[in-house]
Symmetry: C2
Amino acid sequence: MILKSQVEWVLHCCAILAGLPDGRYLSTKALAELHGLPKEYLSKALQSLSQAGLVHSTLGPSGGYRLARPPAELTFLDIAEAVEGKARTFVCANIRANNPCRPKGYCDSSPCAVARIMWEADEAWRQKLRSVTLADLGEILSQETPPAIWNDTFEWVLKRAG
Amino acid sequence: MILKSQVEWVLHCCAILAGLPDGRYLSTKALAELHGLPKEYLSKALQSLSQAGLVHSTLGPSGGYRLARPPAELTFLDIAEAVEGKARTFVCANIRANNPCRPKGYCDSSPCAVARIMWEADEAWRQKLRSVTLADLGEILSQETPPAIWNDTFEWVLKRAG
DNA sequence: AAATTTAGGGATATTTTATATCCATAATAT
DNA sequence: ATATTATGGATATAAAATATCCCTAAATTT
């Protein structure tokens, strides 16, 4: 069970978009080049963000993406779920119902205990991701990225931002 | 990102094995029949448990599996990892290293912040699963499964246990 | 001793998901 | 007008999940 690589991609892209001045947009092309990613496929991932309402897009030259909300209001969970979907990682096939000792047509009053526990673990994962925002990430990155690289990167980005 | 259905299978199988009297074994055939699962493929999942040292197996007629440890010492995480592997769900491709603004040959001093956060979420998931044992599951199941079904099931199982 | 039943391992097949690539379209900027 | 962009649809390839089958060695039952 491995998360799509697109999750990593859009998290990094959002970190960049979070550093963009108000009203500026950054294109798929620039984001792909900056991260060394296949442009067409990254585009699909960014479209997922757009469909989830996390980013706003605009067309034409100087078009691209910007965040739809302030970085403090965008969580890792929002972003991961936009790409990965909101479904739980544990799917209960309710195999207890196949037990030959069951009366035929017997109906369970509550979800299977196994599933409930697995879903609690899922929720713990979600809760952690819900607790970290793009603002948090930006703060960490700005502190631990060498200033030379940090500054060069945003200079590079601003040169390409519409 | 969905867990293998085998995870569900072995959790239910272990719940049954946890209810087996000391020294008795239950075969793949019986476990597959009890849960309505494909015997051959379930067998692969049980072999994973065996390789992880969670169960002990014995050959021949009246052979099969029993738990290798008391139910209180077997966690959901042990079982899930036996089937699913111990790898983290977030794989960091370190795409920050593709940033064209980086000095060539620059080496990061710590793992990427994005990865660290995703791994913390992974760890929250693991921690939850580590906190629930087969003994806990057994207690829940014995309480909420209708006694008739519960008793019939173990009668059914004991008739087939070696 | 022979026949049966089992776990284990290897090979292979099928289906589904992830990872792309390509193209047509409509909107926007220069 | 021309160039550039996001979007959506179609298609292709690679990898993983979900099996199935067969063989072997060990243990049990007869």
